[in-house]
């Protein structure tokens, strides 16, 4: 499977690097694929509601009402029709690219199986919603779709009488059929919406709105496209005529040439079999099970930060089970935990300064406990042989930081950079373990653990607990959010030069006096 993922991943990484330069990390469409899908869905709903006001059900009335909207009220209903069509097409593009990207970056296995599995039925409902929409126009394209779809359905041994008979001649079609179609075209997107909501159930802080600039840009793009190439009908349907040739919307209607080229049953087998194969992907092969986070109640004060910061809703707060005077304790669901360690990074008890007794944080990753991380940091620091001494923290899923090791550079790789509690930066600089600290990881907004980069940034900026203390000299700390080895190497060189030009790091007062001094400073 890796042989399939690797080239796709290569393509995505290069495309995303390019888009980072064009749009910036926040507006990069690749970081908002799912959110863009939602955005287009709402555009389709809004425009659909307006079109519904003017749509008439009936063999002749349906086409006439759509023609009225397209030509006589082109400035509003016509534009709405075009927006309705192009936003639907854009939604297909976003959904498919979103799926490919999650596959390429291996974000569909392990605890993420649920989001992947629930994503597959959305494809069926998305295409069904689009096809029923094209049917309602009742032009030559709609006639072809009606005939081909009903023949396709008739291939299944489900219906007593063949549906395709309704379209064999003009005498056989009833106005009531369009009432059924409008019901279908409303009901199917409603089911789609429900499945989309279901799809997000195991994701905390799901991104369902694209960045404002991107939303404005993409809406303007759709509007211009609607004005330049408005959606048009292809002549009224006539069941006494063969609807050929027709201009297909290939985003939704690609299945029909497949049916004609093969057979209805073969197409059913390919699509149903393909869907089940896609649904089985998270287990082919299953992701190596990572050790889930563990709660150490003796150190936990039930502050909720781990539950708040977990990107995968793997931690909930439950009733306290020990006799300590706190109402709640975190409860980890091992089935949802991806082992990113972001919870450990959020824990206020992950204090490397602590020397009294064993260092045990309230919540930890068994594979890399807070004490083990401190040991690792200290060992890395001892290996620094040249000045300026730089300690680089990286993410196992970003660029391999071990490759940057040099006499003056030591690296520590974490499951996610969001696992690093901010006091570690303070600890390293105040204890003179290094002259500077570099935090690097997945490209901004592309974090494998979803929120590791965002939480790290907010903690360092002081916008999120546990915040990096104000006394930490910011010119001795650099964040590099990219997987591009060249870019990291360049930033490291620049940072080394910057550190060399700095005065020696200030010597901090002893811990007990320090707190008093800081408190006095804050009061001032």
């Amino acid at each position: 499977m890796n042989a399939v993922r690797a080239p796709l991943r290569f393509l995505f990484e290069h495309a995303e690097n390019l888009f980072d330069r064009i749009f910036g990390p926040r507006w990069n469409p690749f970081s908002c694929l799912g959110a863009l899908g939602w955005y287009y869905f709402w555009i389709v709903c809004g425009t659909g509601l307006y079109l519904f006001i003017f749509f008439d059900t009936g063999v002749h009335e349906a086409y006439r009402s759509v023609e009225y909207m397209t030509h006589e009220q082109w400035y509003l209903a016509g534009v709405m029709r075009s927006l309705h069509r192009y936003a639907s097409d854009a939604m297909v593009v976003m959904v498919v690219v979103h799926m490919l990207r999650e596959f390429a970056f291996d974000r569909y296995r392990g605890a993420r199986w649920y989001s992947w599995l629930t994503g597959i039925p959305t494809l069926w409902f998305l295409f069904a919603a689009g096809i029923t929409g094209y049917w309602m126009v009742w032009d030559r394209l709609a006639q072809y779709i009606a005939i081909a779809t009903s023949e396709w359905l008739d291939a299944l041994p489900l219906f007593g009488e063949q549906i395709a008979r309704n379209f064999a001649s003009p005498a056989q079609l009833s106005d009531r059929f369009f009432t059924l179609m409008i019901f279908m075209h409303v009901a199917v997107p409603l089911v789609l919406l429900f499945i989309m909501w279901f799809h997000l159930q195991r994701v905390n802080y799901a991104k369902v709105n694209p960045a404002r600039g991107l939303a404005i840009g993409t809406a303007a793009m759709l509007l211009v496209l609607s004005l330049v190439v408005p959606a048009m009908s292809q002549g009224p349907a006539d069941l006494a005529q063969v609807p050929t040739p027709v201009k297909l919307d290939w985003y939704y209607l690609w299945v029909y040439p497949l049916i004609e080229a093969t057979s209805p049953l073969f197409t059913w087998a390919v699509l149903v079999g393909g869907s089940f194969a896609l649904m089985a992907l998270p287990w082919v092969p299953p992701e190596k099970k990572v050790a889930a986070a563990v709660v150490n109640l003796e150190s936990c004060n039930g502050c909720r930060r781990c539950a708040t910061d977990c990107p995968f809703a793997a931690i909930r707060m439950g009733r306290r089970t020990d006799d300590r005077p706190f109402p709640e304790e975190p409860v980890v669901d091992p089935g949802l935990c991806v082992g990113c360690g972001i919870c450990a990074g959020a824990c206020p008890t992950a204090m490397p300064f602590r020397r009294m007794g064993e260092l045990v944080a309230g919540i930890e990753i068994p594979d890399l406990t807070t004490a083990a991380l401190r040991d690792k940091v200290e060992a890395a620091s001892r290996g620094l042989r040249a000045r300026p001494r730089i300690l680089v923290f990286g993410c196992d899923h970003g660029a391999k930081v071990a490759n940057f090791a040099a006499p003056g550079i030591a690296a520590v790789s974490l499951p996610c950079t969001g696992m690093l509690p901010p006091p570690f930066v303070d600890y390293i600089l105040s204890r003179d373990l290094a002259d500077g600290v570099v935090l690097t990881g997945c490209r901004n907004a592309h974090c494998r653990a979803r929120l590791g980069v965002r939480w790290t940034e907010e903690r360092i900026e002081g916008a999120r607990d546990p915040a990096l203390r104000a006394r930490v000299p910011r010119d001795r700390l650099v964040r590099i959010w990219t997987s591009d080895k060249g870019a990291i190497a360049a930033e490291l060189s620049a940072f080394a030069a910057q550190l060399a030009a700095l005065k020696p790091a200030p010597s901090f007062p002893p811990a007990d006096k320090r707190r008093v001094a800081e408190a006095a400073g804050e009061r001032a």
Binding site: R21, G24, Y86, A168, S169, V224, V229, P243, T244
Partner: protein, 167 residues
């Protein structure tokens, strides 16, 4: 601060995406059938006659049944398969035995097939056997139709109105 070059890049990206959307939402054209040909659609639903003889239940048989189920005449549920033949200009285009639908084979048989024919005048004949007879047909219909390119002629069957309908 957005750099001017980035703005140009965004504009180009939106333009490319819009072009891809616009082009594939409105084509290329696809011809599911040859545009210079005509079409005959054979499409109907019809239930064959019962596959066996009806018989009268004996008195002791009736007595064993619940009072509301004591119907004297009992007929088999199964229907015979239909034999359908479509002939155009003396050439058999379709000849098939259509089995009844349903687990008990008691639902009507149906057919829906499209045939591409050359435009022009054609003699079209349709035949149907819906009884257990071994040979021949129970219904026969014929017409002469002039079909233009892309014209579609439906061959339907309505037992209540006497048989085949060409429209």
């Amino acid at each position: 601060m957005i750099r001017p070059l980035a703005l140009v890049g965004q504009g180009v990206t939106y333009a490319i995406f819009a072009a891809i959307l616009g082009v594939f939402a409105n084509g290329p054209a696809y011809a599911p059938a040859p545009p210079d040909q005509a079409q005959i659609v054979l499409s109907f639903t019809h239930g064959g006659k019962p596959a066996g003889e009806c018989r009268e239940r004996a008195a002791d048989e009736l007595a064993k049944l619940a009072p509301n189920m004591r119907r004297k005449l009992v007929c088999p549920r199964e229907r015979v398969a239909l034999l359908v033949e479509l002939e155009v200009d003396g050439k058999i285009l379709f000849r098939e035995s259509l089995p009844p639908k349903g687990f008990a084979k008691d639902f009507p048989s149906n057919v829906h097939r499209r045939f591409v024919v050359a435009p022009g005048t054609h003699r079209i004949e349709a035949r149907l056997r819906d009884s257990p007879r071994g040979e021949g047909f129970d219904y026969h219909g014929a017409t002469e139709a002039t079909l233009a390119p892309r014209q579609s002629l439906a061959v339907d069957f309505r037992a209540a109105t006497g048989g085949f309908v060409f429209r």
